[in-house]
């Protein structure tokens, strides 16, 4: 099963951290990621640029409205994420806890949506059923 570790941080913290502390944090992150890589548990990682670079697109009255800035004006913002492979939630939580210790932000862990996985939430189940129907429809055409 794949899990997303979403890292939220406060840009003011990054701005005020010393270069030496930032280097240490980044080096720890590098170790965390390469350990996952060696275990064959690393799927994909990406950092995101600051929210000053963000553009938000909303559909209003049938038209797409485009505005500068992030979707949500929160103090902490999504700064990046790693998708990991884990046997179960417990294993995912062990990796996520290590990340929370080193990354200088808050980590949210969520299982990746897989229409063929065992899903708990009723909305996810509906979504999986819709996905399967759309695959069947495409195959029958």
């Amino acid at each position: 099963m794949k899990y997303a570790c979403l890292v939220y941080n406060n840009p003011n913290d990054t701005a005020s951290i010393t270069d030496a502390d930032l280097d240490r944090m980044i080096a720890n992150w590098d170790v965390w990621m390469s350990e996952l890589e060696k275990l064959g548990k690393h799927v994909f990682s990406s950092g995101l640029q600051s929210t000053v670079t963000a553009t938000t697109l909303r559909k209003c009255n049938g038209q797409v409205a485009i505005s500068d800035g992030p979707f949500a004006e929160t103090k902490e913002i999504l700064g990046g994420f790693t998708i990991i492979e884990a046997r179960d939630l417990n294993e995912a939580l062990i990796h996520a806890k290590k990340l929370a210790e080193i990354c200088g932000g808050t980590v949210e862990v969520r299982p990746q949506f897989d229409p063929f996985a065992d899903l708990i939430d009723p909305m996810d189940k509906r979504c999986a059923a819709a996905f399967k129907r759309s695959i069947e429809n495409a195959e029958s055409q």
């Binding site: 080096a27 590098d30 640029q49 553009t55 909303r58 979707f71 929370a100 299982p111 708990i120 759309s134």
Partner: protein, 148 residues
């Protein structure tokens, strides 16, 4: 340059869709990704399970506090994302506009962090310097000079 297109939606709004509406949304969003794939522009996509499945890890003193539920208590939550390649910001916005017209929810588009790219924000520049100097293993994978 790679851009991330994040989809934020309201689970209660999705719940109100009929089965056929739900299927139609899945199909058109799938087509959007398939079209990027055909043009060699698709990098990575993932959907996330509902916020009810989320756990949040916060630093507290020297330890980490784990709580059930998503990090943000907003009505609309990150439901999934696609990373794709675009030659310019305009091209990225045009691509994202296509998805915004067909998916349920609001999109946020942001360039991904590339330590070799020209970065406009001073915090991003600071972070890029730190990545270049302190992520030897990551850099070995993404350094364009090391690859060639």
């Amino acid at each position: 340059m790679n851009y991330i297109c994040m989809v934020f939606n309201d689970p209660t709004e999705l719940d109100r869709l009929s089965e056929s509406e739900f299927g139609a949304v899945c199909r058109v969003c799938g087509d959007w990704v398939g079209e990027l794939e055909q043009r060699g522009k698709h990098v990575f996509s993932a959907g996330l399970q509902s916020p009810t499945t989320a756990k949040t890890f916060r630093r507290q003193g020297s330890g980490v506090k784990i709580t059930d539920g998503p990090y943000t208590e907003t009505k609309e939550l990150l439901g999934g994302f696609t990373i794709f390649d675009a030659d310019s910001h305009e091209e990225a916005v045009a691509e994202a506009s296509k998805l915004a017209a067909i998916c349920k929810g609001t999109l946020e588009l942001r360039p991904v962090m590339d330590p070799f790219a020209e970065l406009s924000d001073p915090i991003d520049q600071k972070l890029a310097r730190a990545i270049r100097s302190s992520m030897p293993q990551f850099m070995a994978e993404c350094d364009p000079a090391a690859k060639s």
